[in-house]
């Protein structure tokens, strides 16, 4: 063994890897014929490779694929939403705006539980009831929130009752519009109309201060 050139073992591996030159292969073969020990090493190497190579193919258990699919993160719907947002940026912005807007509107509907009434001379307020006394004339609009309005006299303007009731006596006269609002939708509509009115005052300039 000591007499064997060091190259021989390299040649063996090069041979097994299939990247040996012809000259090297010839040298190796010549050496193996003459050297019993090296021949044994070479055989040992080829045998162990053949041994490992004869391993049967191992298959994954039947439940394998389902196991993987069950472990995948559920991001399908999220991905769908993201895709939609990316392809419709304008609609997304509009939807966002509407959501935020309606949120502020609804929150103010919920918080607005207090009784309030437009201050006008000669209106009589008794607890949660507002009275337009008989024979009197109220000049201007009346808005009552969370209360009852009784009209026995005359109102020269619009009458609005939000979440309350409006009783009109036979003597009552309302020159403007009279409306009662108690549904969410009506209230929203009213709020929108009012906002529009506040932003664009009508040319008549008859907007009354609510104080």
């Amino acid at each position: 063994m000591n007499t064997c050139p060091e190259q021989i073992v390299h040649y063996m591996h090069a041979y097994l890897d299939g990247d040996i030159s012809r000259d090297e292969e010839r040298l190796l073969k010549e050496h193996l014929v003459s050297c019993k020990e090296c021949k044994e090493i070479m055989n040992g190497l080829t045998e162990s490779i053949a041994f490992i190579g004869s391993a049967t193919n191992i298959k994954a258990p039947d439940s394998f694929v389902n196991g993987v699919m069950a472990q995948l993160p559920k991001e399908k719907s999220q991905a769908g939403v993201q895709r939609w947002l990316r392809s419709h940026p304008f609609l997304a912005a509009a939807a966002m705006f509407l959501i935020l807007m309606s949120a502020t509107l609804f929150s103010s509907y919920g918080n607005d539980q207090q009784f309030s009434v437009t201050k006008q001379p000669n209106l009589v307020v008794q607890g949660q009831t507002v009275l337009v006394p008989a024979g009197e004339t109220v000049k201007g609009d009346i808005v009552v929130k969370n209360g009852t309005l009784r009209i026995e006299g005359e109102v020269d303007g619009n009458v609005t009752v939000i979440r309350g009731s409006n009783y009109m006596a036979s003597t009552a006269i309302v020159t403007g519009k009279s409306e009662e609002i108690d549904k969410m939708f009506d209230w929203l509509w009213y709020k929108m109309k009012k906002t529009a009115k506040d932003i664009f005052p009508s040319s008549k300039g008859d907007v009354q201060d609510e104080k």
Binding site: F51, I52, I58, F64, V65, M69, E75, K76
Partner: protein, 187 residues
């Protein structure tokens, strides 16, 4: 093959999770086998191979479609196996059954973790013996030997999977072969 895979991958990228099922089906046995040979334990192999697929799914957008998908997938799996081997405490289950393997039981489980008396080794059946000998190889050599002689991959591809230069792969294959020859010695 590669074309089909890339088509499925594009579907996965578009959010179609079911397209990934086909990818898993195509590669499950090869990936499981590599994990099983490297870890020596069926339960662990199933866990790790499944985790490798899950990670592939999560990171699918980082896969470069000009490259070979199997190489990328094998890299994820071998990295997980190597991590697992490093962290491995002696927590093998001697009395547990090994599902999905015929004739591989207790021996195959001990294989990765220790030596057996010679007479017991001699009584092993061929497949048990193969598994045992692979398990006895040092980790460094085991991965290249499994990829080279079980998966029958070219040396260059093994280098791509393990992110090793070709020269290093060759050296490890040589030493792995040498180690196998020595540990089997007298069959």
């Amino acid at each position: 093959m590669d074309e089909l895979i890339n088509k499925r991958i594009n579907e996965v990228l578009k959010g179609n999770q079911n397209a990934f099922e086909e990818v898993v089906t195509l590669f499950q046995h090869r990936l499981y086998q590599v994990c099983y040979r490297m870890l020596g334990n069926a339960q662990e192999a199933e866990d790790i191979a499944q985790e490798a697929f899950v990670r592939a799914y999560i990171n699918i957008h980082t896969f470069d479609q000009k490259r070979k998908f199997s190489t990328w997938l094998f890299r994820i799996a071998t990295n997980l196996c190597i991590d697992r081997i490093r962290k491995k405490k002696p927590d093998y289950y001697l009395d547990a059954n090994v599902p999905g393997t015929d004739g591989l039981n207790m021996y195959s489980q001990i294989a990765a973790s220790g030596e057996l008396p010679e007479d017991e080794v001699e009584r092993m059946e061929l497949q048990e013996r193969i598994h045992y000998e692979i398990g006895r190889l040092p980790d460094k050599y085991r991965s290249v030997i499994v990829l080279r002689y079980i998966e029958e991959l070219p040396l260059q591809e093994i280098g791509d999977i393990l992110k090793l230069p070709l020269g290093t792969v060759k050296t490890r294959v040589h030493r792995g072969r040498e180690a196998l020859r020595k540990q089997m010695g007298n069959i």
